[in-house]
């Protein structure tokens, strides 16, 4: 990639120094929230609050303006009224600042002439300098190793996922709910209106970033679409790229315009481009996290022959449907496998074909684990889905779910094949889902969701097997 762009984005994600303009003593002031967010992360660079009316804020010396900060800054966060932004960008450009994150909203996304005029002024203000801009109308940067954050209460847990999000709140919802699924981020950029740096720039950077193993993108408008696709093709089969594109309908597109001044786009064009570039296209946050969880946790996999292990028979049938709906294949178990299963399971209310239905055999401790070990040894099986561990009554079977969860956790350490779980959401299941995720077993709420995610996961590994895209 372009070395100047790379240097700018290195400074974005690993700033040695950062200033925040717009801090005050009010704790709900956006600038002050950024200060708290950086402190929560244990930011290790130099941190400079800027406000001419204060001598000190949150234990840090306060500077009257950018020019008086005693060093060249990698990063400046602007959390000030819109009209003040162009002047501050000019000041940053003059002081040799690397990157401005413009948190401020109230620009082209308002649909007002004034907003568009201010954006033009901002671009004029940086002209001729090396200053690059993130935003405006964004939450900025999370960097696990750079120790910067979008919001207070984020933590520098190491992770292999990175995210580009044109919505700040969506990046934060994704961060929080992903970590409950055992999925941690290395980098997140909330890119807002993308006046200067855009999703294609970020993708170019993440594509070559050794700490990013999987990329999530929430996009309302793909700026520089040809370049974005170009980058996507280059990482095909090397790094999964999951794209949640919104604004695909007339209603959504008009909502996107007032959210980030986005121009929408055609669903058909996008689907075609996704196929070509091997991107994983999803339609909501649930699908995005479902796919990401499979791709994050599961080992590489060569084939799509699925074995289902179930206790609730109805959900097993539904799962067999879902397997076929998503272009996967039910494994035809070998005879030895059926015989081994018949050796310890009841003869009635069970099935030793695929789906394997444990029936009431599921309540006998160790049977889930036995079945999984047998299927792990059957060469006709590539992937395993366990379905159920169903609550049989309002208070009856909590012990059963706990026991079966424990067997799956035990299975994870003795079996070699990818394993996912389907647990229908209930007050009984959420803690067990959290345990499964922590052990690297993706858990889904329906067979449909599990098979959708497995499809994306298997497609990626098939592409990887076919010969991945090459780095620039």
């Amino acid at each position: 990639m372009d070395p100047d762009l790379k240097r700018s984005l290195d400074r974005v994600f690993h700033p040695a120094s950062a200033a925040i303009v717009g801090v005050s003593e009010r704790m709900d002031n956006p600038g002050t929230l950024f200060l708290r967010a950086f402190q929560d992360m244990g930011f290790e660079g130099r941190l400079y609050p800027v406000n001419p009316r204060h001598g000190e804020i949150m234990g840090l010396r306060c500077y009257p303006d950018i020019g008086s900060v005693p060093e060249g800054l990698d990063l400046v966060i602007l959390a000030v009224p819109p009209a003040a932004v162009p002047g501050l960008v000019r000041e940053c450009a003059a002081s040799g600042v690397g990157v401005c994150v413009i948190n401020t909203a109230g620009f082209s996304e308002t649909g007002r002439e004034e907003g568009r005029r201010l954006e033009l002024e901002i671009m004029q203000a940086r002209r001729g300098s090396g200053l690059r801009l993130v935003g405006p109308n964004c939450m900025g940067i999370f960097s696990s190793r750079g120790k910067t954050a979008l919001f207070a209460g984020m933590f520098p847990t190491p992770g292999r996922a990175s995210m580009i999000s044109q919505s700040g709140s969506l990046s934060s919802i994704t961060y929080v709910t992903a970590l409950e699924r055992g999925l941690y981020f290395d980098k997140i950029v909330s890119s807002g209106n993308e006046l200067d740096l855009n999703c294609s720039d970020y993708l170019a950077y993440l594509a070559e970033d050794d700490h990013t193993g999987i990329i999530l993108a929430y996009l309302e408008e793909v700026r520089d679409a040809r370049r974005f696709l170009d980058k996507a093709v280059k990482i095909r089969g090397r790094k999964p790229l999951i794209v949640f594109k919104s604004g695909l309908t007339a209603s959504g597109s008009s909502a996107a315009a007032s959210h980030t001044a986005a121009m929408g786009g055609s669903a058909e064009v996008l689907a075609g481009a996704a196929r070509q570039a091997g991107m994983i296209l999803v339609h909501d946050l649930a699908e995005m996290l479902d796919c990401a969880t499979a791709l994050y946790h599961l080992p590489p996999c060569a084939g799509g022959r699925v074995a289902i292990v179930s206790a609730p028979g109805g959900l097993a049938v539904n799962c067999a449907d879902a397997v076929e709906w998503h272009g996967l294949e039910l494994a035809s178990l070998r005879d030895e496998t059926r015989e081994e299963l018949a050796g310890f399971l009841p003869a009635e209310g069970t099935s030793f074909s695929n789906p394997v239905d444990l029936g009431f055999g599921a309540v006998i401790p160790g049977n889930y684990l036995k079945a999984l070990r047998i299927l792990d040894g059957d060469p006709t099986v590539d992937v395993m889905i366990t379905v159920g561990t169903a609550p049989a009554s309002r208070d009856g079977d909590i012990g059963l779910i706990a026991a079966i969860t424990d067997e799956m956790l035990e299975a994870r350490s003795v079996i070699s094949k990818p394993l996912v779980s389907v647990l229908f959401p209930s007050a009984f299941t959420s803690t067990h889902m959290a345990k499964l995720h922590a052990a690297g077993i993706p858990a889904y709420t329906t067979p449909t969701a599990a098979c959708f995610a497995l499809r994306a996961y298997l497609d990626f590994h098939r592409q990887a097997g076919e010969g991945a895209g090459t780095a620039e």
Copy 2:
């Protein structure tokens, strides 16, 4: 409906007397579990355990056989080995029993000749008598007012939903997870292999049952399909009928055969029939409960113009897409509404068109409620969806979600229009979802799920408006 059939099904759901054959002192014995299930419900009829080797079980006098029970029985549950069933059915027929629930599995669903032969013997055994059969390979009957249960740990909470399920475990999962969504059942029948009484019989009964306001059906094979459709057409616009049909693919159909000996069926034929009969067709348990929750909780509604109130902008755009994907319409808010919203919300990072984006205005107490009241008064709006109440950080915004949930609960009592909520699932949100459900506010995990359910809900009320089907 046929008066003999009605009388039999009255005895199924409101038995004055019931015997359970196959009880023992082992607490995990299926017959003993039924005994416990009836006792948990506070069954008010006479209850007779049958076992020649015991004098008393769980405080009840035990009888050696059906013939020695001192009255004509409404209901007999058989939980005995398959080979013993034909003889017992003959005994029941001779003793004038109303209905046998055959819990036993091991018949045609095994694919073995022996299983099919036993089923023929059972049908011969009842010939010439008025005895009807539920099952075999089923969990039997839950009746809230009849105080019978499928499983131990069920409770006679009054409800307006009823269910037909060819899977016993699926009926129990639905029961448990539905009650967490504030949705309670009057009747559930787990119908198993449907050797005698079938889903069309149950539908005929529930169609005319005054205590059933909404019908859920999990079906692997629709026996007597023409009659089933006939009944469905008759309740079109009067009672929502939600059909979760599995076994629609070759894989699913073969799994269904070994589960309940079902014959599968074509997805296309089913979809056509559903359109004609006004049935709501769903593809998994999540969709079934999503639709049921909307139809159970929300008041009648005449139009499909949706207003969205959101704080996370990305999810608002996604929700606008979902509205259009599901054939709903974004309301064009009147000017007065926009002005009222602008009167108390920040000018930046917000939107006063639809979706209404509260932006950081969401954190100010009372703003969600204010926005909902304003939209409730706007005649361009038929239905409202709130999106978000997002966790902004791992520990930061629990208070915010709680506050916004409280505002929605307050809104429910002062607004008149249907209101649903979208909360992305997280450890933070589950208790709030439970609170919303308890207050009759359906809560969904994605905009897509919410709009899918609203589509089903609005279709039903449109049919109701067009003139509903008529009772027999």
